[in-house]
Symmetry: C2
Subunit: 623 residues, 2 copies
Amino acid sequence: MGFFGFLIGRRLANREGQARKITALEGLPAMGLDGLSSSAYGPEAALSVLIPLGAAGLGEIRPIMLAILLLLLTLFVSYWQTIAAYPSNAGSYTVAKENLGANAGALAATALMIDYVLNVAVGISAGIGALTSALPALHRYTLLLCLAVLALITIVNLRGTMEAGIAFSGPVYLFIASFGGLLLFGVAKAIAAGGSPQPVSAPPPLAAAETGATLWLLLRAFASGCTAMTGIEAVSNGIGAFRDPTTKHAHRTLSAIVLILAVLLAAIAYLAPAFRVAAMDQTRPGYQTVLSQIAAAVVGRGSFYLIAIASLLAVLCLSANTSFVAFPRLCRVVAHDGYLPRSFAIPGRRLVYSVGVLWLTITAGVLLTVFGGITDRLIPLFAVGAFLAFMLSQLGMAVHWYRQHGHPIRLAINAAGALVTAGALAVILSAKFVEGAWITVFVIPCVLALLRATKRHYDTIDCLLREEGPIDLRGSKPPIVVIPIERWDRLAEKAIRCGLLLSREVAAIHLTRLEGPDAEEHEGRLRRQWYEEVERPARAAGLPPPQLILSPSPYRSFLGRLLKHVAETEARHPDRPIAVVIRADQGALVGPSAAQLARAAAARDAAAPWWSESRRRYGAVVP
Amino acid sequence: MGFFGFLIGRRLANREGQARKITALEGLPAMGLDGLSSSAYGPEAALSVLIPLGAAGLGEIRPIMLAILLLLLTLFVSYWQTIAAYPSNAGSYTVAKENLGANAGALAATALMIDYVLNVAVGISAGIGALTSALPALHRYTLLLCLAVLALITIVNLRGTMEAGIAFSGPVYLFIASFGGLLLFGVAKAIAAGGSPQPVSAPPPLAAAETGATLWLLLRAFASGCTAMTGIEAVSNGIGAFRDPTTKHAHRTLSAIVLILAVLLAAIAYLAPAFRVAAMDQTRPGYQTVLSQIAAAVVGRGSFYLIAIASLLAVLCLSANTSFVAFPRLCRVVAHDGYLPRSFAIPGRRLVYSVGVLWLTITAGVLLTVFGGITDRLIPLFAVGAFLAFMLSQLGMAVHWYRQHGHPIRLAINAAGALVTAGALAVILSAKFVEGAWITVFVIPCVLALLRATKRHYDTIDCLLREEGPIDLRGSKPPIVVIPIERWDRLAEKAIRCGLLLSREVAAIHLTRLEGPDAEEHEGRLRRQWYEEVERPARAAGLPPPQLILSPSPYRSFLGRLLKHVAETEARHPDRPIAVVIRADQGALVGPSAAQLARAAAARDAAAPWWSESRRRYGAVVP
């Protein structure tokens, strides 16, 4: 089995596929990591925007969070319906493609793919950033730690989505239990104290107000808080990972993630003003996150605080896992339609789409390495893709219900969802455009163009290869066989025998001076051998003797000279196919592989499409 | 032509080979850079060993340098004779191989190849080190500068040895003129002043003696000084670069290099005690090289001093060029004998052995990158290989003259040379063993083993491929043809038509479930198409209908399942060859290349040698 087998596990058979599928129990950790960890940075992001309002900002967080929760509810209902309507894949790509057309589908896929890649880089670096700010001694190993987490998540996901669900269930359930418990305990305490509880460990005093609330500021706070829901889409895209009935398990997983996220968000929105906890300026010394302040205020900085914060750190570091579940499955559907290379659609040895997993690892790894593990600058790029996909998905579902008639409530929900997500997207874009969102706006059309070029490529091939009618067996003349040989040896003998099976017209071509001006040539010897060992025996056996052509290659080019000879032969015999016999292995000094030969032949006919008619001439037989 | 053509130049024809050859005018800069730059560090290295002797050490440098000059003279006479005796390639490899046997030749080649690689890394980093210590602002770009110089030398040498000679003649001739002039002027001044001239800019005072002279110390100083002659071998190895008559041009180049080097060394050895210049401790502040001190003492720190030091810096940085001329040509001869892959023996587009050039660049580049451009630690590894090769070459020539009889003086010279170089090698090894020479001693056998394994590999193939007797045309039965198909399309049609040319027994194999448990299969459709489009037309044309086999691949392995089918077919028909028809391009979802197929087939028969009889079964035809 070897090291690779030890790392990834044994090869799984197709019939084991169903047993590898997951339920909500593994689905919640596997797909929910991003959504749950969002509870840490969503409210924080919203409160950060409110910092200039000082104490007054705390009064705004509850209505803002209420709006976010309403949007979350809309998305939840919408995705619930989508999963029911498209039980095999309910991602934005499918919904947009089915209802808004192929281009909208490709756009949704592009936006989501970019977002998933960013999510991995940003998620890991944010988690490791939180870890190293807790343990500054680790700071110099930032990039190494990021890459280690990336490698860990990759390996676990290459083993299987079920394994990922099981492996990461520990931190996830510990986080839910400890932080959920802590927040609910805090809420109970606050209610008991009439809404103004006494903090165990007091948060730092609030800053003075610098400015008054404006609509634009509140909208920006709302848009920033919306980053909390970027992980919601994953269940719809990862629907193929669920056991039958997929709809039931997907519904359960989605409900669990949204319910827990909503409870956490609501509790935080309630507790922050209650304990007078605001966001702090990250660049100032003594910085603490909102959640850390709330936890300290509720239970003090004891061991329970430490457990809760540790589980939060683990969830943050592992939040990239959601992308690893959803991205390969999205790519699979997209590749199935020809927008990505087909290898994205092939299950690997563990029945996950390994190419997608590895592609995600490589792109995220490059991002992490280029930015040295500090991807702060990528955060504004983030969420644009998710909300673009949300909007397309909502719009698609609205069209879906409109076309089906008789579902006015569903239509209304999705239409409202489309409007709100479009609004959120507009706010996100305008708020973050200069800071970096323009990069996403620039990258999306580029990736989209790539996807469409791939699709065109496959369409062209399909069109060229489509077979109409029965096989054409009339008048297939035996080919003229051309065999490049290096010298007279057993390989050459096999090639000639093989050529004689194909046709009675066989020519061996020996390219001289391939080895440069200083090489010794043995032309005479080869001619003698050819006469003795080939021509004479062939005549004796009553076969037309194979010809030997010695052709100098003054520029030491093998392929060019060979193709020129083939073209000349073809010009002399336009009605005959030409077969070139070559070796299977590439150990020879001058032997091209079949693929090289085909590529060179295609390149020569530059005017023709890549699957040119001219390529048909080059049959190649490996003896 | 493109960027590559712009960088390297147009492709040269074989007939242009002679016009690209060089004379001594280009040979001196191209091959002499290492030798001439040695004058900078050879005396310095010897004087460094003498530091503990204080002022008394200066008294020892003249006799030590005299011994080195005598050794240089021996090597010169010896290589002169070698070039005359072996006018096509006079390197240690050829001489040792011809006179001491193939193993001694391979050992000499190994030692030299390692030395050439080290020379590139050490030469460039020493040059850039000297540059950055003159201009400390450049220090942070050390690695970048090293790699830039490496890239420059690589590109120039890929363009051609002649281009390298022309490009680098500027710095070389400037160095010879300025430094040679400076030193001779100093000698004249010193003689005029009766041996104790007044320095223009006085060198720092000499350190106090810490210890007395011992034989071991003097031997170490001698061994360190010997590093000055590592570049001497290059002319013999690069002999193929010279114009006809090669011997004449090689002799001239060798003479010029040795003469200039000897003059420089002698002048330095005379001037150091005259101006009371000693080596300084590199780790102390205010460090200056011996040459810088001498130059300052002779002409003061004026503009002439600056020109001389700048030309010295340029020569140091470019000293790696000698390796770039000699290494590829050494590899070419070695590859010609089968000890290296044959690609080392093929001239590239500019008629230089590009593979050798690039290989040297890559290995030296890796060394430079790993050591961050500071290869001080590699210096002790250096010179071991060169002196091992010197010794083998001297020994080989001694045997050569002994066998020819009647050359007692030549025999004596080479025998003495062998003794002295062996002694120098022993001293170098013992003096530097702990500091790092043990690594060379460890690496040489490893590389040697690799060379011999390559040779065995080629010998095995040659032995297996050797053709005895005429082509065997009796009883070649038509093969059973196996054609993997993905679906019924024009590619499949071409493959079947091609298969029907080969044999009347054609089977198409379609592997189902390749795309995993969730893929839809269209078996029924394929069977219907096969019946309609293939079987019926074939029967109508009077041909035996090609068979369609649907074979499930439960583990999604294409090659494994295909080879299993081939093995089963073979077991049923042990007397028939089997041909597998595959596609030339690899664009298909599941199409292996011919090479992959051959490799997999070879790997399956693990017990057989790599060119196993079993491989003969797998013919592959690309339609």
